[in-house]
């Protein structure tokens, strides 16, 4: 009798204890690299996901830039306490895979059929999927339609670099008593825009299987020479000086104030530009050289956790975030591209595009998108390229010499990177 009672108590207790344990959602620690208005939208969507079901709880926290997040995650991983999921700079997925930091996602049985192939391409390494495209951007040509009309150019953006030069000549005017000087084109001398130009002029940044740097070859030199001539020979473009964030700020301020008619910037800026331009703004493809080509940018998401239950929980969130409905919401609210094909073609998205034709351009330009080479995440290479760009565009150095020096200087870093990964 007593033992029956005891048993009853034990059973009752264990039910009491185990029920809440079973019902508790699986927590996934997610380190995000977006702050400001983009971070707020992401956080809102995470909260919405958490509220929508009770099996998974995403604990999202802002941990600094992509670089900060990755550095922190690497140390935490070495220390045995990695976060479950992180947002990384898109080109990093293959490197993390090569280093064995992330495992293939094959255990999670994800349906990848709806992803835009060009955007998911850089999540593959040796044929296996290691990450998922999350917030993806691409560079665009933003232009001031009011200035175009005034210069008698019509509504459309230039289609080629040759046309861009012709347009820029008409858009450049010296200062008068009651008006500031205006000029045609301005772009921040950064790796991303240069990479685009090199491809457009038929060159390559690097051989992606060996890490051999190729941006001192003819196509690349021609591209940089063209950019330099726009500034120094034709006098129709300017190059913003200073550290990258400052150079972006200067370029945007010049564009908003109607001092420059055409700029390069990320799709991620579309919403900000819409809000800040007091004129009619147009958006176009980057101009073509011998061919059309653009890189993509932004972030992918990777799962660091080895725990099957947490991996499945993380995958649930990723599936939710990238499904047709939510990928469309994310894109409409931020300007990032919808990573999901079905989202891109959805009724809602098409309606949004009809109302905001500028938002459509990034998606259409994707047909020319190329996968960025792995060397674009090596800090030494990026720094060396960017200081060569500054020396040429600001300092008037010879493009061929500057690029050859940069390749010589940063090839060892690229070699080391490929050896170690």
């Amino acid at each position: 009798m007593r033992s029956v009672k005891l048993l009853a108590v034990v059973v009752a207790l264990s039910v009491l204890v185990s029920v809440p344990v079973l019902a508790a959602p699986v927590q996934v620690d997610f380190w995000m690299g977006l702050s400001g208005s983009l971070g707020e939208v992401l956080m809102e969507m995470v909260n919405q996901f958490n509220a929508s079901q009770d099996e998974v709880f995403i604990n999202a926290t802002f941990q600094g830039s992509y670089f900060d997040v990755q550095q922190k995650a690497m140390i935490a991983m070495a220390g045995g306490m990695p976060p479950d999921m992180i947002q990384v700079e898109q080109a990093q997925v293959r490197n993390l895979a090569a280093m064995g930091v992330v495992l293939p996602l094959s255990d999670l049985d994800l349906d990848t059929s709806e992803f835009i192939p060009t955007l998911i391409a850089d999540c593959y390494y040796n044929g296996e999927l290691y990450g998922i495209p999350f917030n993806r951007s691409t560079p665009l040509l933003y232009y001031n339609k009011d200035m175009f009309r005034e210069a008698g150019l019509g509504e459309d953006p230039p289609k080629t670099w040759g046309e861009l030069l012709e347009f820029a000549k008409k858009l450049t005017k010296p200062a008068t008593d009651d008006q500031e000087a205006t000029w045609g084109f301005q772009a921040v001398p950064n790796f991303w825009f240069f990479e685009a130009m090199v491809w457009q002029f038929g060159g390559e940044m690097a051989d992606d299987s060996t890490g051999k740097l190729l941006y001192d070859q003819p196509g690349a030199v021609e591209a940089l020479k063209f950019w330099q001539d726009l500034i120094h020979v034709h006098g129709v473009a300017r190059c913003p000086a200073g550290e990258e964030a400052a150079a972006h700020a200067i370029t945007r301020a010049d564009f908003y104030a109607g001092r420059v008619a055409m700029i390069f910037d990320s799709t991620g800026q579309l919403t900000a530009h819409n809000q800040n331009t007091p004129f009619e703004m147009g958006v176009g493809f980057l101009p073509a050289g011998v061919t059309h080509a653009v890189p993509t940018g932004g972030g992918n998401i990777v799962i660091l956790s080895r725990n099957p239950e947490i991996r499945r929980a993380a995958a649930k969130f990723i599936e939710w975030f990238t499904n047709a409905e939510n990928a469309a919401v994310w894109s409409m609210r931020t300007g990032y591209m919808p990573v999901n094909q079905v989202a891109m073609n959805s009724e809602e998205m098409q309606k949004f595009y009809a109302e905001n034709p500028n938002a459509r351009v990034a998606g259409e330009q994707l047909q020319y998108a190329r996968t960025v080479p792995a060397i674009s995440v090596i800090p030494e290479v990026v720094e060396s390229v960017e200081s060569a760009l500054q020396a040429v565009l600001l300092g008037g150095e010879d493009p061929a010499t500057a690029l050859a020096n940069s390749v010589r200087e940063s090839q060892p870093a690229a070699d080391k990177f490929f050896r170690n990964r």
């Binding site: 400001g36 983009l38 926290t61």
Partner: protein
């Protein structure tokens, strides 16, 4: 002679202006709207000071909380570094323990190792202690510091031996000698330790980035990073206002301590 003074002063004034210019830019920038901030040619004095930037900053991120965390960490770390440096500096200067120079050498050697190199081992230790994502993780690893020990030892060494001898004759123990004679005499060095360690702790970005995950344990430098958006538009005017909140306490501390600070550096530099 007079002409030379004018030239020297003129040069110094120009150099000082160059040094102080970014500070002035920050103060004025924190009171501009974003349009005024980005205007060209640059606008120095905003027509109407935008005090609402500060309100915006305090609303955008829990700066009150970050401020309190920074303050707690700084007070604990600074107090402890001063205390440990005084104790160690005294022992290394005045007590004849075997291997004293070797110990001093090892302490000096710790100054050469950058924080990044110790991050992973520290992570392992702090994880064992269950202190990842806590304020302890920001304080305990910094309770003693090699450079502070060095500064205090050098300052104690130049104190006349007669003072120590006579205190001993009067029956004073080591602690009494340290706190009643040595520390008051080594005030410039002690204040130097306080200022240096306060600034280093206050500005530390790397350590809190690695060892805290949740907002409630974050310090001010990480709060500042929230205003620099990835791919998004940096809100420069808010960034300036936030920077003002972050640097003001350190500027005050430096102003108060500067007389001793300069003395402390020059003295320990000369002797020892």
């Amino acid at each position: 002679m007079r002409g030379k003074t004018i030239v020297v002063h003129g040069l110094l004034i120009i150099i000082s202006l160059i040094i102080v210019l970014p500070m002035i830019w920050m103060v004025l920038g924190s009171l501009k709207t974003i349009q005024e901030f980005l205007s060209k040619p640059p606008l120095w004095i905003p027509p109407r000071p935008a005090w609402e930037n500060y309100v915006e900053v305090l609303k955008a991120a829990p700066f009150g909380l970050f401020f309190r965390n920074s303050l707690v960490v700084a007070i604990v770390v600074v107090t402890s570094q001063l205390l440990t440096a005084a104790l160690a500096g005294y022992a290394l200067a005045w007590i004849n323990v075997p291997g004293r120079n070797l110990i001093f050498g090892i302490i000096l050697a710790t100054m050469m190792i950058p924080a990044h190199a110790t991050a992973v081992p520290s992570f392992l230790i702090l994880r064992r202690l269950g202190w990842i994502d806590s304020l302890q993780a920001l304080m305990v690893p910094f309770l003693a510091q090699g450079f502070a020990v060095f500064l205090m030892r050098q300052a104690f060494l130049v104190i006349p031996v007669e003072l120590v001898e006579s205190a001993k004759l009067d029956g004073a123990g080591h602690l009494r000698i340290l706190f009643s004679i040595m520390l008051p005499l080594a005030k410039p060095a002690a204040i130097t330790v306080v200022v240096l360690s306060a600034v280093a702790t206050w500005n530390n970005y790397f350590w809190p980035l690695i060892f805290t995950n949740s907002t409630k344990y974050r310090t001010l430098p990480l709060g500042l990073a929230m205003f620099r958006s990835q791919e998004g538009m940096a809100q420069w005017n808010l960034l300036m206002a936030a920077s003002m909140i972050v640097v003001t306490p350190m500027m005050l501390l430096f102003l108060i301590g500067q007389r001793y600070f300069i003395e402390g550096i020059s003295r320990t530099g000369l002797k020892g």
